[in-house]
């Protein structure tokens, strides 16, 4: 079980959180034309890197804030976490 540092609450066990996928994906702007290919890339396709991954977590059983984490997908090492409007300290 991972130990994740919520930027609002501090370190908590993984079972308080839910995973939210790749944090670098940007939702297309509402009301703007978008090709089917670009839309499909947004909805369906994600990279599956081995190593560093910037991802979203949701502190569901806590403060209910979404935040970003930088995690190694192979070792589970979490390098840093930060609020949505912040950048990692790297």
């Amino acid at each position: 079980m991972l130990e994740i540092k919520c930027p609002y609450c501090g370190k908590r066990s993984q079972n308080e959180f839910s995973y939210g996928g790749d944090a670098t994906v940007k939702r297309p702007t509402l009301g703007k034309e978008i090709s089917t290919e670009d839309w499909d890339n947004f909805v369906y396709f994600r990279d599956n890197p081995r190593g560093k991954h910037t991802e979203l977590w949701h502190h569901v059983s806590g403060c209910r804030q979404w935040f970003k984490a930088s995690r190694d997908t192979a070792t589970h090492e979490i390098f840093d976490t930060c609020k949505m409007n912040e950048a990692f300290n790297e």
Binding site: M1, L30, G31, V60, R64, Q65, W66, M84
Partner: protein, 1003 residues
Amino acid sequence: MRLSMSNTYRTKNSTGLINKNKKINFSFNGHTYHGYEGDTLASALISNGIHLIGRSFKYHRPRGFLGVGVEEPNAMVQLHEGNKSEPNIIATEVELVEGLKAKSQNCWPSVQFDIGEVNNLLNRFFPAGFYYKTFMWPKSFWMKIYEPFIRKAAGMGVAPLQPDPDRYEHNYEHCDVLVVGSGPSGLASALAAAKNGARVILAEDKANFGGSLLTDEVTIGNMSGKEWANDTVAQLKSLPNVILKKRSQVFGYYDHNMTVMIERVSDHQENPSKYTPRQRLHYIRAGEVIVSTGSIERPISFGNNDRPGILLASAAKEYMTVYETLVGKKPIIFTNNDTAYSTALEFLKNDITPVILDTRNNSNGELVKEVKQKGVNIRFNSGIADTKGHLKIKSAVIGELDKDKENFTSLESIDCDCICMSGGWTPTVHLSSQAGNKLKFNEEIDAFVPDKKRQRESAVGAANGSFTLNQSLAEGFQVGFDLSNKFTNNNIETNTPNSKEPKYEKHERLWCMPLPQGKKPKRFIDFQNDVAVSDVELAIREGFRSIEHVKRYTTLGMAGDQGKTSNLNGLQYVSNIEKKIVPEVGHTTFRPPYTPVTIGAIVGREVGNHYLPTRKSPIHNWHEENNAVFVAAGLWQRPRYYPKESENMNDAVNREAANVRTNVGICDVTTLGKIDIKGPDAPEFLNRVYTNAWLKLPVGKARYGVMLREDGMVFDDGTTSWLSENHFHMTTTTAQAANVLSHLEYYLQVVWPELDVNVLSTTEQWSGIAVAGPKSRELLSKLFPNIDLSNEGLPFMGLVDTKIDGIFARIYRISFSGELAYEVNVESNFGLHMWKKIMDVGKAFNIQPYGTEALSTLRIEMGHVAGAELDGRAVPFDVGLNGMVSKKKDFIGKRSLSKEAFTSEDRQTIVGLVPLDKRTKIPEGSHIVENDKVASPVPKLGHVSSSCWSVEYNNPFSIAIIKDGKNKIGKNLFAVSPLKDISIPVEVVSSHYVDPDGERVRS
């Protein structure tokens, strides 16, 4: 029960940890025996001369004790009886307690005479990979013949069929430094870390702290090893920042320094209080973990080296020094190193002179010299070729080895009643390896030791390959200080005391004896899995090269044992055959749990009603008092129906539903998800979340809305009301309440943080009561005489705030049943009061409560979609919600709706079904086919999502999702349920079966 035998295998001196003043009676295989307080089941049996404890896994060979603790591969027993019965318990880990009942496993009819032993006579037919080769063909035999046969032949223990009566607990702990193992390096680390102010947990598997200090004759400072251990434990106990846990095994090392420890809390107590758990599972999140788990002695492979009475020399020593038990009175000691000589010295203290066989040409170690000085003849350059004795060792065939140690030059037979063997020592690296440590091979000790760590874990002492006391203490104090200082920065260092121990000479790299000429006795490597040298040879002959493949083909080092005594000997043998060095062969992966763990402990208190939390509405007690039958809706308990007298479910549901259609019904809808939405951008946000338009909703109005996922699938539906400027009240389905909240939070926090909106769950704060039926207006008008509930005063989808008995109440005119209906919301605390009030006034209108079944009937008849239709595979078009989709604005998931696949005309869409005979109910999940007579695979048009008995038309009605549904209306098809083996001719009708124009809700 037969008469108790005498307890005659005890040492002369009482210097161990047995309390001879407290006799303990126990039974094994129906015989009663006695031991003493402080005994394990193993030491008690051995003190009674019993070595035969079970039969081996594959060949059903008689087996005895090999070890004295967690390393024991053979002595697995079935403990207790009835619902307390527990299989596969390691007898060396069981503390003796009055009345304990144990029996052998894997034998029938008895451990002395076992039918399965024929496998041993036929052992040439049971080589490595036997199961793979023999039971492959024909395939159809696998399930019915081979698998049950293998399971039965495999024997092992029997799991009890009754629920476990014992209580287990879970505990979560945090500490700076967790120390696993309380030998010299563990005690040193714990003391150094604790004195430096760190929060320390020290875990010891056994009933006593001290590890090797309890058995080795050493001096630390001016104390004996044992005294120093006691003194150190006393110091640790006096410190408030230390938790000491004995009978506690850390069996798993997971990510981010999460370790799991099992504590045997009351297994050793005669009459524990009923509130004392049997075992406690500790989840320990440690800042740093110090692995001081020591080392395990290696056996030696020689002919028939598995007979009862053949055990590890260290085990024999511990039985004598700790448990005051003699493993035999005519011992042979067989070794490739110096440490076994301490076992010889223990025998000598009991006036027993062992025969000593040493594979080495000579040794000048201090213990060897001491044994020599006592006049014992040591046979160097010698080994054991074979043994005799069916149920217990009787004699050994021994001899001198040639120069290359590949053959015996001479052989003779000598009598013995036990053989104590030592092949050197293996560091216990399981936890480090579980933590992701890449092990390295240490050629000095011929074993793997921890190397490159992935987590915050440090091995010290023997677990780190440091086999001398000096080194162990030095490492322990140093590492304990260094790691604790990371947390405390106190810089309080504890000095390492001086220590004295015997000097040892090096072991010989020899773990497998040659075969006696002309004979091929089995030389076992892995006792628990019955893997012999010949099996490894066969695997390599058949082309298995990777050590992981050899492991799986032969089963070497698998299962509960995890290769504690066999792993390195197996690797060594493979490397010998392959003419490679061990590090090139590599090692297999160590997996948790390190020792078997009772399932009950893993489950803990999460059994029965405690498996999940139960959510109850504030009206729950009323439902109970009024005979409700409940159904689980997620965590909620909802009334399913309220049977009267002799009614069955169908009768009750039809009565309840019909009463809504003709009079008025009342339903507890407190469980619906409720979300409070506030902020100046709330209308804009709702406009993006829902498929329909929200910007022009007037204050004081509710609207039905549908939300999609980005992939275009319907996610949830419900009504949302505009309460005041910037303030909305959203309702969701009971099932999706939590997911919708997370969804909204995601878009507000991650995607559109510029929107000034806050969302908050208010599901628990409001109690909702639906009042539905043609008489609902009359009823509520009587209850709330001051408000205008006429169609003009409170039109469909309107809402009004009011007060009753000083309580705030909000009345929505919304309907799920399709009837004229209202939903009264009050604060949860007043839910029951409001409900009773409505029931009271409702009497005059023939009000009746209705449950979830009637609720379903009402919505199915009306063709309202719910979870069964909105199953994550439906776009709005599929379920008749196209009218809800705005063409003008953009919203979540809209772009997906224009994808080709989602616009195709022949998609599966919603229809109604009525059986042609108007009698046969159509099972939910049935397939819809055009022709039920064609050969399979029959082309499937769709499936039945919801079924009910229509109270309006008094015949069955179902909703189905079928291909090109709209154009199938009026056609006859078949609803087929292969599970129930029925095929029902049906007519396709509109899904809006009752009141298709929705006149009633607006009446």
